[in-house]
Amino acid sequence: MMNSAIEAVDLVVHRGRRDVLRTVSATVPAGSVVGLLGPSGSGKTTLMRAVVGVQRITSGTLTVLGLPAGHPRLRSRIGYVSQTPSVYDDLTIRQNLTYFGRIVGAPAADVDRVLDEVDLREEQRALVRDLSGGQQNRVSLAAALLGSPELLVLDEPTVGLDPVLRRDLWDLFRVLASRGTTLLVSSHVMDEAQRCDRILLLRDGALLADVTPAELLESTGTSDADDAFLALVGSAR
């Protein structure tokens, strides 16, 4: 039995001359929801892209589901949602999901399942370009849920969503985790941190904290996640 879904040891990523990640060591326990927080430009997206195997690693090791990141056998086991909705805007929701479903080898019934999970069944015949930004994000998320991957890497999946939808999505993330899926979710919204099992706090490419939400509040002597974040990021300066 694998205990950690993701394990980074002294991970370094340079992009051009910039050190985007500087010796990051962290673990994401299997079956948990881990929040990846940090100011913009802190390296969250680069870390996530490295995990899904599209970012070249400069040094260090990154093990995902027991294999080195980027291994071909991982491609059907990880679902990735990038920050901007990466679906075809000149296809309908259903056509997008049918295509991505065939690519990952998901059973045909999966399309209906994920449509229900992101609550887009009614709109399934609409072209993606005619949808709102929040709906497009959910189509992108639905595509990543096809084939029930063991690990979901979600880059700011709740941006542009109203509070009700955001709550519904976090409920969905908890359901997925309870079925054994591991989720790595980046976010700017600090109150979402409270809903994670653990929080990884990045700043300037370095890991500032790897804590539970309660520990975060306790160690900073604050009562809400926004203040804790400001306290931690501030104290490291």
Binding site: V54, R56, G70, S82, I103
Partner: protein, 244 residues
């Protein structure tokens, strides 16, 4: 390579095109309109008989180059390519999927253009007319595969469009439309031997003038096809799963 994934990609690309009827209309009708214009300009001269077949090589090539390079660039910029690179889809599956989809469109385009040139514009064809369709199709596939490759070197739609004068116009100038290739300066003649469009134009001109030239036509067509295959291979090499 996986046939199922390739065909799924072909189906997806064709569905995207189907949602854009204006592009289909332009792809299918514009070559015929231009051929008609050319025939009209050169009424009562023998010029159309010489230039007409060459145009049948140019239009599918240019049209497919543009459509494919921009479609592929959109795939890169929208993030869907990055998503596909995280999924169990081979790079060759993706490129072949695209080539098959635009190849299917090219068949329709070539049938319409050749039919229009022969029956409406009165283009005389000494050899088999179906050879014109075959060469136009292979030529369109070359445009598609070069377009796929060009999109790897472009960051924006603007740059992709600039590849047209850079990659395509020299081939047009050296292809033997304006001056027969054997009457060019030796250096230019030698260069034109290595340009795929020269062979496509040669094939089409042979079909229209030489009833016994089928062997030459097929040989030239194979050369064009070889360039297309090389472009796919290069395209697969330049298509990276990871970014630095």
């Amino acid at each position: 390579m996986n046939v199922g994934l390739t065909l799924a990609t072909t189906g997806r690309v064709l569905t995207q095109v189907r949602h854009d009827p204006r592009t289909i209309g332009l792809l299918i009708l514009v070559p015929s309109l231009l051929l008609g214009l050319m025939a009209w300009i050169f009424t009562d001269t023998p010029v159309f008989g010489v230039v007409g077949p060459a145009l049948l090589a140019l239009f599918p090539f240019i049209a497919m180059f543009l459509v494919t390079s921009i479609t592929m660039l959109r795939e890169r910029r929208s993030g869907t390519l990055e998503r596909l690179m995280t999924l169990p889809l081979g790079r060759v599956d993706l490129l072949l999927g695209y080539t098959l989809a635009f190849g299917a469109l090219a068949i329709v385009q070539a049938l319409v253009a050749v039919g229009f040139a022969v029956w409406v514009c009165g283009l005389t064809v000494a050899g088999d007319a179906w050879l014109l369709v075959l060469v136009a199709l292979v030529d369109a596939l070359l445009g598609t595969t070069l377009g796929l490759m060009a999109s790897a070197f472009a960051r924006s739609e603007f740059q992709v469009v600039q590849f047209l004068p850079a990659l395509v116009f020299p081939q047009v100038l050296l292809g033997g439309i304006f001056v027969p290739r054997d009457r060019m300066p030796d250096v230019l003649n030698a260069i034109s031997d290595w340009l795929p469009l020269s062979h496509a134009i040669e094939a089409l001109q042979t079909v229209s003038t030489d009833a016994t030239g089928t062997g030459t036509v097929l040989r030239e067509t194979v050369i064009v096809a070889a360039f297309a295959v090389a472009a796919i291979v290069l395209g697969a090499v330049t298509l990276r799963r990871t970014t630095p």
